[in-house]
């Protein structure tokens, strides 16, 4: 059982890599066939990964999220599932599969470094609230991971667009036609007739999405517009935030049962609190004039960093009551 779980895990990892390459090819050259293939392979990988997780649960005789390896594996699974099933419904997100799968591959590869054989849990971890708490934390972590990938891409694209805007402002060209010549290659945005003026100001507010206008053929290797990326990131993080809130609350209820206090500033608790605060800051920043965009994105990146720190450094290095959940 354990062996089958590990094999399907390996198969999933390999297929994710293949799918990642397919998505990246599509991102670079904009051909439809690699995209279709990549999606098929990604679904196959997801199926294999699911089998691996289920078998792991059967082998351990409990829910398959009882230690770091299992946690990371299920986070990877949730990232891909949420991307394929939810995010890809947005057409512009399909260009980003390579980056999402890249993150997944990293998470899964890292998880093998803390691999342990399946086994029972110590008594304190044997609690219904804990199972719910961890499941919610996994779901939220996966969504925050998606949000992080989109945010990074947003930051890249936003910089490009600012450079374009500056360049355009410096040479007041007639209309939006032929700015191309003097600009770096990747910035020949305005001359793309099919996207119209979309790229600089592209986003759900303006172009795409209004009345379901289909996305025009886009340039090679080009990210969706910054506004669209920002919107994708915000969707993921807004989805994650209440789930994370619930995870923290469920954890507190469990801690109350197990240790007689719902909150003790245990390192694990500290860092989930910090994560929560940073993402709350992000949500506020997006609702505040002058804080939208880059500043908000920085908060999202910091929030994800706190999340990642909690799952890695705190688990492995900083000790606390939670640490026996450890490796």
């Amino acid at each position: 059982m354990t062996e089958a779980s590990n094999t399907t895990f390996g198969v999933a990892l390999a297929l994710y890599l293949v799918a990642m390459v397919g998505y990246l090819h599509h991102f670079a050259y904009r051909r439809p066939t690699p995209l279709t293939l990549a999606r098929v392979v990604a679904y196959l990988a997801l199926a294999s990964h699911t089998v691996s997780v289920v078998l792991r649960g059967v082998a351990a005789g409990r829910v398959p999220w009882g230690n770091m390896y299992e946690y990371a594996s299920v986070v990877g699974l949730a990232v891909v599932a949420l991307y394929l099933v939810v995010a890809e419904r947005r057409v512009e997100a399909r260009r980003l599969g390579g980056f999402v799968l890249g993150a997944t591959v990293l998470i899964m590869a890292a998880s093998t470094m803390v691999y342990v054989e399946p086994g029972p849990l110590i008594p304190a971890l044997n609690s219904g609230w804990l199972r719910i708490h961890v499941l919610a934390a996994i779901l939220a972590s996966a969504l925050f991971t998606l949000g992080f990938v989109f945010t990074l891409l947003y930051l890249i694209q936003e910089r490009r667009e600012r450079r374009v805007e500056r360049a355009v402002a410096e040479r007041p060209a007639p209309a939006m036609a032929s700015v191309g010549s003097g600009l770096p290659h990747d910035l020949e945005v305005e001359s793309d007739p099919e996207e119209g003026r979309a790229t600089v100001t592209l986003g759900p507010e303006q172009g795409n999405g209004h009345g379901g206008m289909p996305e025009g053929p886009t340039r090679r290797g080009r990210l969706p517009g910054a506004a669209a990326l920002d919107d994708l990131a915000a969707k993921a993080i807004t989805f994650a935030f209440p789930i994370w809130t619930f995870a923290v609350i469920a954890g507190a209820i469990w801690a109350e049962q197990a240790w007689g206090r719902y909150w003790g500033w245990d390192p694990k608790e500290v860092w989930s609190f910090v994560t929560w605060v940073l993402f709350a800051g992000y949500l506020h920043a997006r609702a505040t004039q002058g804080w939208r965009g880059r500043r908000a994105a920085v908060l999202a990146v910091l929030g994800f960093a706190a999340l990642a720190f909690n799952l890695t450094v705190v688990n492995l290095v900083v000790s606390g009551l939670h640490s026996y959940a450890g490796v």
Binding site: G119, P120, I122, P123, A124, N126, S127, G203, P204, E205, G209, H210, G211, G212, D231, T238, F241, P242, T245, F246, I249, A252, I253, W254, E256, Q257, A258, W259, G260, R261, Y262, W263, W265, D266, P267, V270, W271, F273, V274, V277, L278, A280, G281, L283, H284, T288, V314, V318, G320
Partner: protein, 492 residues
């Protein structure tokens, strides 16, 4: 003059406390403070590591100490940030709440310049303007819009008030949650009790292992009931991992057994608002020591271990005999059997226990503070060592007789009262319930105006969304199609 500056200063502090940015910055600072607390050892939890730091890096330790880093959550600055956050939250929530309540009562004016709105459409429908507006009102109500004001030929409608209500509920709930922590701590207490099988623990200030942490307003309201520990048991899995820890207990009030129950990990016992949690356990050998026939020691001795699963760190304890001359100290180790003395084995069961001893004599230095589980060996010299099986007696030089009489277990219970728990649970629930509409719904408004035209009525529809503007595009289109079913729609 000075008071003028002062009050102006206070006014500007107050102004900035009322801003949401300040509240969030205070929250972030609290987060930062707690990060310090997670990285620097905290004196209330790990005094040993603090002492270590003082020994190894005295300068750094003194700086940390001055800044309150060794007890972040008890430091003045953490408390200050907490209080400021509470004030700030209240200061920015009160006006918002007032605004919401006022807004609910007022009627709105129909918008005058519909065409200037972000969304605008117009189209022809049948019937008189009054009929058209009536139809529109019914259609909007069916779709869950709150139609707020009208007149005969115009109306305004709103949807998504849940966002504002949910947002306020969330923010207030978070405020109450912060308050609940303080309340529970202030009126509650936490203590630890070590109880040997067969013994009785009384819920009173003096019977805890060390003085319980009592809240400022707790005021000695210990309940005085008793808990008798009948027995304690660890169930092991194959391979020696513990599966469950169970203390079987009786609750006794005024000499009468009120109830019998079990305390397990994740399943505390609650009595009179006091909860008892299974938090630890250990072995307590019964050792008798006689000196020239006189019984000096006969109670069970609490033994400790640094890690119950580590074979090289067995359960250990000490006996100190200051009354004889020279003073004698015994260092004891409890092992599962005699073979374990050499090989090392975790003490899981007491089938064939073995007590190893080392006897020292000299000066115990009891005038110094020291651990009851260890000897202070500077002025002691070892003069004898060996081991005892259960029931055996050994005679040591100097007229000492040591008997290994019995082995019992003790249970360690965390005992606590937190009257804020109910409030915490309720507010945590409200946080979640408020958060969902605050995040996922959006406020949007619609205005409809009917103008007579040849052979019918022209409906003008304008609208805008405060949030999720992109999603409203589609919703608005659908609404217009609903309100102007057959007529031609003109979208500017």
């Amino acid at each position: 003059m000075a008071t003028g500056t002062f009050s102006r200063g206070m006014l500007s502090v107050w102004r900035s406390l009322r801003s949401m940015r300040t509240a969030l910055i205070l929250l972030l600072l609290l987060g930062l403070g707690s990060v310090v607390g997670s990285l620097v050892p905290q004196a209330p939890n790990s005094p040993a590591r603090v002492a270590e730091l003082f020994a190894e890096r005295p300068l750094l330790a003194r700086i940390y100490d001055a800044l309150g880093f060794f007890d972040v959550y008890g430091s003045w600055w953490f408390t200050l940030l907490y209080v400021l956050l509470l004030i700030s939250l209240a200061a920015c929530l009160i006006p918002r709440t007032r605004g919401l309540i006022r807004g609910l009562g007022s009627r709105w004016q129909p918008a005058r310049d519909l065409e200037a709105l972000r969304h605008y459409a117009s189209g022809s429908v049948e019937g008189s303007p009054e009929e058209a507006v009536g139809r529109a009102r019914r259609a909007l109500r069916r779709r869950g819009w709150g139609v707020r004001s009208g007149g005969e030929t115009a109306l305004a409608a709103e949807k998504g008030l849940a966002r504002e209500v949910g947002s306020l509920a969330f923010h207030w709930a978070f405020f109450l949650l912060l308050l609940g922590v303080v309340y529970g701590k202030g009126f509650g207490f936490t203590g630890q009790a070590t109880v040997i099988e067969g013994d009785v623990f009384t819920e009173a200030h003096a019977s805890y292992d060390f003085p319980p942490r009592e809240g400022r307003f707790f005021g000695e309201r210990h309940q005085g009931f008793q808990v008798r520990v009948l027995d304690f048991e660890v169930a092991y899995r194959e391979g020696g991992l513990p599966r469950d820890f169970v203390s079987r207990v009786e609750v006794v009030e005024e000499g009468e057994v009120i109830r019998a129950d079990e305390i397990r990990v994740n399943d505390p016992l609650e009595h009179l608002g006091v909860k008892l949690y299974q938090s630890g356990y250990g072995w307590a050998p019964v050792v008798e020591v006689r000196h020239e026939g006189e019984l000096l020691v006969s109670d069970p001795l609490v033994f400790v271990t640094d890690d119950p699963n580590d074979p090289v760190r067995p359960w250990r304890g000490a006996i100190k005999l200051p009354g004889i001359s020279p003073q004698v100290g015994l260092e004891l180790q409890l092992l599962p059997d005699a073979a374990a003395f050499v090989a090392g084995m975790p003490m899981l069961e007491a089938d064939d226990p073995f007590l190893a001893y080392r006897a020292y004599r000299g000066d115990l230095r009891l005038t110094e503070a020291q651990s009851v589980f260890r000897l202070e060996k500077e002025l002691l010299e070892e003069y004898e060592s060996g081991g005892l099986a259960l029931g055996e007696t050994v005679e040591l030089p100097g007229g000492l007789e040591v008997t290994f009489r019995d082995v019992r277990q003790y249970t360690q219970l965390l005992v606590k009262r937190d009257p804020g728990i109910g409030l915490m649970l309720a507010t945590a629930l409200l946080v979640l319930v408020g958060l969902v509409p605050a995040l996922y719904s959006s406020r949007r408004r619609i205005w409809v105006r009917a103008v007579p035209e040849d052979g019918g009525t022209r409906l003008e529809i304008g609208g805008f969304a405060l949030q999720r503007k992109a999603a409203f595009d589609e919703e608005f289109d659908r609404l217009v199609r609903d309100l102007v079913p057959r007529g031609r729609v003109r979208v500017p």
